[in-house]
């Protein structure tokens, strides 16, 4: 490894050694064990376990709910970030602090609370069911739990970008006679999109792995409202270790691909912006 430095600071070897060994022991070796286990049954069986009808339905529920929750947050999370940054109103600081609640609140607590609120005899569920809808114990419940859990990712991703938007660019556009909508479409949204997308991807990656908050509210019906992480646990409890590992590998691959995609897109955006600046 070559080090490009004017004057090297100390600790390269120490920190590299520490980071690599910790990373290997805690994360890489265990994940390698998982992949090995799923491979131990051979490609045919792996394929059968990873694509059984029940597993496919679980992926559909998991990815579908995660995408839907991400979309809800894409709209409302962005709106919330917008309102928090652009307007002054009583309670703004409080709401701003509250945005991190889903990150700090244990998922099991969120799970039992949302279930109690949205069940047919709960304070919200009573109204919803009187109107002829059902949230708890249906796939809708999964979406509600995931909206809660992944909300901070979008808000916290969009907020700093909104804050750093140069007011003078908007002002210039306004002076040049651009209407509010034109400014939004031509100035603000282009600057905001990368952050919104990154937030969406983070929220999505978090949602597909979520377990604690979902299992209480989901209803857990095979083929209908059973999420993939629950199927992993069910397989494990039936001592189908390789089957559990196979589904875990699929989920892992998808979330890793999502994270990799964010990193690549962001890298590409940064390069494009700096290229523009040079020009």
């Amino acid at each position: 490894m070559r080090i490009f430095r004017r004057q090297a600071l100390p600790g390269f070897g120490l920190t590299l050694g520490l980071v690599l060994s910790y990373l290997t022991l805690i994360v890489l070796l265990p994940l390698a064990a998982l992949v090995l286990k799923s491979a131990s049954i051979g490609p045919h069986e792996f394929w059968a376990a990873a694509t059984s009808p029940r597993a496919l339905a679980a992926y559909r529920v998991t990815f579908g709910s995660a995408a839907l929750a991400g979309l809800v947050n894409l709209v409302f999370g962005t709106l919330l970030a917008w309102v928090l940054v652009r307007y002054r109103f009583p309670g703004r600081g409080f709401i701003d602090a509250l945005v991190d609640l889903p990150f700090a609140l244990p998922t099991a607590v969120a799970g039992i609370t949302l279930t109690a609120l949205y069940a047919g005899n709960g304070p919200l569920g009573r109204w919803i069911e009187a109107a002829g809808y059902k949230v708890a114990y249906t796939p809708n419940g999964i979406v509600v739990a995931l909206v809660f859990v992944s909300l901070p990712f979008i808000v916290r991703s969009v907020q700093p970008v909104l804050e750093s938007l140069e007011a003078d660019v908007e002002e210039a556009a306004a002076t040049l006679g651009a209407g509010r909508l034109t400014i939004l479409a031509k100035v603000i949204l282009p600057a905001l999109w990368p952050a919104i997308l990154a937030g969406f991807a983070l929220a999505f990656a978090r949602s597909i792995g979520e377990y604690g908050s979902v299992i209480f509210i989901a209803g857990n019906m095979p083929m209908v409202s059973e999420i993939a992480p629950l199927l992993i646990v069910a397989k494990l409890d039936q001592r189908d270790y390789a089957g559990a590992a196979a589904i875990a590998v699929v989920i892992l691959a998808v979330s890793f691909a999502v994270l990799l995609a964010i990193n690549l897109v962001q890298l590409w955006l940064v390069r494009r912006r700096s290229a523009k600046a040079v020009r």
């Binding site: 709401i95 602090a97 099991a108 607590v109 109690a116 002002e171 992480p229 979330s255």
Partner: protein, 289 residues
């Protein structure tokens, strides 16, 4: 930070636009953030203070609280040391494969907690890769404290590093360079220059890491074995009570965890404000000719 800066009049949105937007956003925040928080405490105190106190004072609940604190007391410092080392490595040196390393550090964020538990069962379970070796030596990893700590460490792995990397990147390394030029040892440089600089950010990361460590459910649930008074953490105890027709007691323990979350939010907010102030101080001093 332009938070406090008033916007030019031309860009100020008229009230008929701002008000509905604010109201919709507030309604959304009230429904998805405020209501669940209020509900936890509402259900916890539904049957009065006495029931709450009894639920918290129950021996199994107390053991669960103790275990939870113990797990956090081991896993947070471990991740703290790792986080500082990783941030130092990533922000102070250029080397090949750095991008990959950063992605790998982020990896646990993308791993389902259930999978985090599963991997340790596959490794340390009696029929796992190391199971027999451990059993012969009578070492218990899963269904005991080490397994719960490992699963927690895995899940909270990137948090401190993630908080420190952007901060240290922004701060640059001029002061460390200067300290070295003046002949400070590596340790002195770290202790006297780096640590005070990153102090608040570090605290911020530790607080978040602690909240996640104490609240982890999925990963711990897979490796715990659910032995009452021995391997049940607080979130698992909440689930148990919930399943014992003791809904109020479940929400009582849940309220303790929610309180922890609230304290986390308050500290986080205070520290965020602190960091913003110190950075803006620095930038204003730098800007002075």
């Amino acid at each position: 930070m332009k938070r406090g800066v008033a916007r030019p009049p031309a860009l100020r949105d008229p009230w008929w636009l701002a008000l509905p937007l604010i109201l919709v956003a507030l309604a959304f925040a009230a429904l998805f953030l405020l209501l669940p928080l209020v509900a936890v405490f509402g259900y916890a105190f539904e049957k009065g203070w006495d029931v709450f106190v009894t639920a918290i004072g129950d021996p199994d609940a107390r053991e669960a609280i103790r275990l939870t604190v113990q797990v956090a007391a081991i896993s947070v410092p471990a991740n703290l040391v790792f986080g500082i080392a990783a941030a130092w490595l990533v922000t102070r040196f250029e080397f090949r494969g750095k991008g990959l390393l950063v992605s790998l550090i982020d990896l646990p964020f993308a791993v389902s907690p259930v999978i985090a538990g599963l991997v340790y069962v596959l490794l340390f379970g009696l029929h796992g890769w190391l199971g027999e070796w451990l059993a012969e030596r009578d070492i218990h990893v899963i269904f005991a404290l080490p397994g719960i700590v490992l699963a927690t460490v895995f899940v909270t792995f990137p948090i401190v590093a993630r908080e420190l990397i952007p901060l240290m990147q922004a701060q640059g390394d001029e002061e460390e360079q200067a300290a070295r030029t003046l002949g400070a040892s590596g340790f002195t440089m770290f202790w006297r220059v780096t640590l005070p600089k990153i102090g608040w950010g570090l605290l911020y990361g530790v607080i978040l890491c602690n909240a996640r460590a104490m609240g982890e459910f999925g990963a711990v649930s897979v490796v715990s074995g659910h032995i009452r008074g021995l391997t049940n953490t607080m979130p698992l105890h909440v689930e148990i009570l919930y399943n014992e027709y003791q809904s109020t007691a479940a929400f009582a323990v849940a309220a303790l965890l929610a309180l922890l979350a609230l304290v986390t939010l308050v500290l986080k907010h205070a520290i965020g404000w602190r960091i913003a102030r110190t950075t803006s101080d620095e930038s204003s001093t730098e800007a002075r000719p």
